[in-house]
Amino acid sequence: MTPHKDNLDIEISLLLDAIYQKHGYDFRQYSQAHIARRVNNRMLITGLKNVTEVHAKVLHDETFAAELLRDLSITVTEMFRDPEFYKSLREKVIPILKTYPFIKIWHAGCSTGEEAYSMSIILKEEGLYDRATIYATDFNQQALNRAKQGIFSNELMKEYTLNYQLSGGKESFSKYYTSSYDNVIMHQSLGKNIVWANHNLVTDSVFAEVQMIFCRNVLIYFDRNLQNKVHSLFNASLIKGGILCLGSKESLRFNNAHTTYNELDSKHKIFKKKY
C-alpha cells in the first residue's frame, strides 16, 4: 500500500514548502493542526476558497505573505505569566545567579517583550540588574519592534499588576511605568540592559553563551524532532550549571535533552544543566 495523505495535508505541506523556499521561514516541523488552523483563519478573512489559492498568493502577493507569516507566529504573552513560576524563580534561581559576576540571559521567542521586562524587574529588585544582559530574541520583527518600544495597553495592567503581586513582587507595580492615555510605557531604565534581536530558532545557529535560557510556550508549537534540534541549540548555548526555563505545560520527557538537566522545580519546569 502506498502512503496516502488527505488533500488538505498535501496542500498544506506544499504551502509550507513554498513559504520556506520563497521567504526562508521554515514551518514544516510545526504542529500541523495549529498551522492548518491559522491558514484556515487567513482564508476566511480574505475570502480564499482553498489552500491552493493561498499558495498562489504567498508566492505573488508580498502583503498577503507578510500577513500570513504574522498569523503563523502566535504572540500571545503576559507579564509575569504564571506568577508561581516567577516566585519559584526568585526563590530557587536568583541565589544561583548571584554567584556569577556577569549574568547573560537569553529569552528565546520573547514576542512583544513582556517576559523580558518582567525579568528586568526581578533583577532590579534582587540587585542584579547592573551585572546582567538580557538577549531577547524572536523571529517576528513586528513583535520585536513593539517590544523595544515597551508600550502596553492600559487594560492589561490590572492583570499584570495582579500577576506581579502573586509572583512575590516587592514594590508597587505602577512604579515601573508611566501612563499616557490608553497606554503605559515601561520605564526606560528597564530596557537599558536588554538587547533585542531577530533570531529564528529553526534556521539560525547558536546565539551566545549564557547562564540562563527562557523559552516558554514556543516549543509547544514544534514537533518532537524540531524540539530536539532546538534543545541541542540550547545545550550548546548554556553554560554547565546554567538554568533552562520552559512553559508550564512543557517538559523534557519526550526529548533527548532530559539527560542533560536536573529538575530544579518540576512543577514550574525549571531545569539546571548538569556539570
Binding site: A33, V76, K249
Partner: protein, 192 residues
C-alpha cells in the same frame, strides 16, 4: 462502524454533568474521551480529582505531544488550546481566545474532526455560550456522530441550543441516555 475517539465540550454546569457521566461509564470503557471544560485561566484543574473520586475511569490532564490511547480520559489544561494532530497526538497552543474561551471547544473539535473524520463522536453538554457549535458542524461535515444534551434537561441550555442551530444532531438526549448510548456504541465497536 468503528469509533476511535469521543470529544466532549462542556461549560457552565459542567461539574455536575461530568460527575453524572463518569460515575456511570464503566472502567472497561475503551474509546478514548477528550474533554474541554471551560475553566478559569488560573485553574490548576483540581476539579479533575473531584470527578475522579466517583469515576470508574480516571481523568487526567493532557500532556503536550502524548499519543491518544485506548481507555484514557484526557482533559485540556487551563489557558491552553488543545488540538489533535493527524497522527493522533495532542498539541497545545496559546493562540488567541476563541469564543472568549481558552481552551476552546471549537478548536479541539475542528482539529479532531480533521484527524478522525467519520470515526469521531462529538458531544455538547451544558453551557451558557456558543462555543462548540462550529466544532460539531465540522464533525458532521466529516461524517462523525453528533450528540447534544437535551436543552430541556441541561443545567444551562445555551450551548446545546447553539449546537442544534448549526447541525442536525444525530441524538438529542438527557445525560443518562447519553451514557447508555455511549456504552452501546462501544459494544458495537468491540463487536465489529
Amino acid at each position: 462502524m468503528q469509533y476511535k475517539a469521543i470529544v466532549i465540550g462542556v461549560s457552565l454546569g459542567g461539574m455536575n454533568a461530568m460527575k453524572v457521566l463518569f460515575a456511570s461509564l464503566p472502567s472497561t470503557f475503551s474509546i478514548p474521551i477528550i474533554i474541554v471544560q471551560h475553566i478559569g485561566a488560573r485553574s490548576d484543574n483540581m476539579w479533575i480529582n473531584f470527578i475522579n473520586t466517583t469515576s470508574n475511569l480516571k481523568l487526567k490532564e493532557v500532556r503536550e505531544k502524548e499519543k491518544v490511547e485506548l481507555g484514557n480520559v484526557y482533559v485540556a489544561p487551563a489557558n491552553y488550546h488543545l488540538l489533535v494532530e493527524m497522527d493522533e497526538t495532542f498539541s497545545l497552543t496559546i493562540d488567541q481566545r476563541v469564543n472568549f474561551a481558552r481552551p476552546s471547544i471549537d478548536v479541539l473539535f475542528e482539529s479532531a474532526a480533521a484527524a478522525y473524520k467519520d470515526k469521531l463522536i462529538g458531544i455538547i453538554l451544558t453551557g451558557s455560550n456558543k462555543d462548540g457549535a462550529a466544532g460539531v458542524k465540522r464533525i458532521q461535515e466529516y461524517g462523525g456522530l453528533v450528540v447534544v444534551e437535551d436543552p430541556e434537561t441541561a443545567e444551562s441550555n445555551t450551548m446545546p441550543l447553539a449546537a442544534i442551530a448549526t447541525t442536525k444532531p444525530d441524538h438529542i438526549l438527557p445525560l443518562k441516555k447519553i451514557v447508555d448510548l455511549l456504552i452501546q456504541l462501544e459494544q458495537n465497536n468491540l463487536a465489529s
